[in-house]
Symmetry: C2
Subunit: 126 residues, 2 copies
C-alpha cells in the first residue's frame, strides 16, 4: 500500500476522481450534455461501450446523482437517461477537459514523436 501521504487534498481529489473521473462517466456526461436525453442503446452505440460497462456506469452515476433514469414499462422497454442539475454542473469542468483534450492531442502526439525519435537516436552515446 501507499501511505506517508502528506497531502490530504490529493487524497480527496483522488477519491472524487475514482468516483466520477473514469473515462466512461466523462463521455456519458458529454453525450448527455450534447443530446439532452438518450436511451440506453443510443448511448451504447454513440460511445462504443459494452453493455456491461454502460449499465454499471449509468447505475453508479444515477447513484451519485449525476444522471436521472426514466423507465417506460412499455412492451419494448424504453429507458431514458438525462443529466440532473448536479450532472449538469459537472458538465462545465468536464467540457473544459474535453476541449483541452481535443486541442492538445496534436501537441501530445508531436511531443511523443519527438521523444521517441530522440530516444532512438541516443540509446547510448553523448
Amino acid at each position: 500500500m501507499a501511505q506517508t501521504n502528506g497531502c490530504p487534498d490529493c487524497q480527496r481529489i483522488n477519491e472524487v476522481l475514482s468516483r466520477v473521473g473514469d473515462r466512461w462517466s466523462v463521455l456519458i456526461v458529454i453525450s448527455l450534455a450534447q443530446y439532452g436525453v438518450l436511451r440506453f442503446n443510443e448511448l451504447k452505440r454513440h460511445l462504443g461501450i459494452s453493455q456491461r460497462m454502460l449499465s454499471l456506469t449509468l447505475r453508479e452515476m444515477e447513484r451519485d446523482g449525476l444522471v436521472s433514469r426514466t423507465y417506460y414499462p412499455t412492451i419494448p422497454p424504453k429507458v431514458e437517461y438525462a443529466l440532473t442539475p448536479l450532472g449538469d454542473s459537472f458538465r462545465e469542468p468536464v467540457t473544459a477537459i474535453g476541449l483541452w483534450a481535443l486541442e492538445n492531442l496534436p501537441n501530445i502526439d508531436s511531443a511523443r514523436a519527438r521523444y521517441d525519435e530522440d530516444a532512438e537516436k541516443e540509446p547510448k552515446s553523448a
Copy 2:
C-alpha cells in the same frame, strides 16, 4: 474490441483521457502546479505512490510533453521534475475538475446515501 462508434469526438477525447486521464498523472500535475519543482522522492512521498508507478507515469508524461525532467549527474543523483507549458495548460481544466470535486463531494455522498436507502427499502414490492 467493440464499437460501431458513431462519435469521432468521443473517440478522440477517449484517446486523450487514456493518455493523461489516469489518476496519477492528474495528481502529479496538481502537485507540480503547487510546488513548481519536485524531486523524485519528494513526489513519491507527497503522493503516496509506488516508485514503479511514479517512474512509469513520469516517463509517460515526459514523453507526452507534460513534464520536464532535469537530471543532475551528481554523486547522489538528483532529478527534478516540473511542468512544461503544455503541462501547465493542462493544469487549468484539471484544477476546474478538482474544485468541482471538492465542492460536490458532499452532494455526491448524500445522493448516494439517499439512493442506497431507497434501494434498501424497495428491493421488491411495489
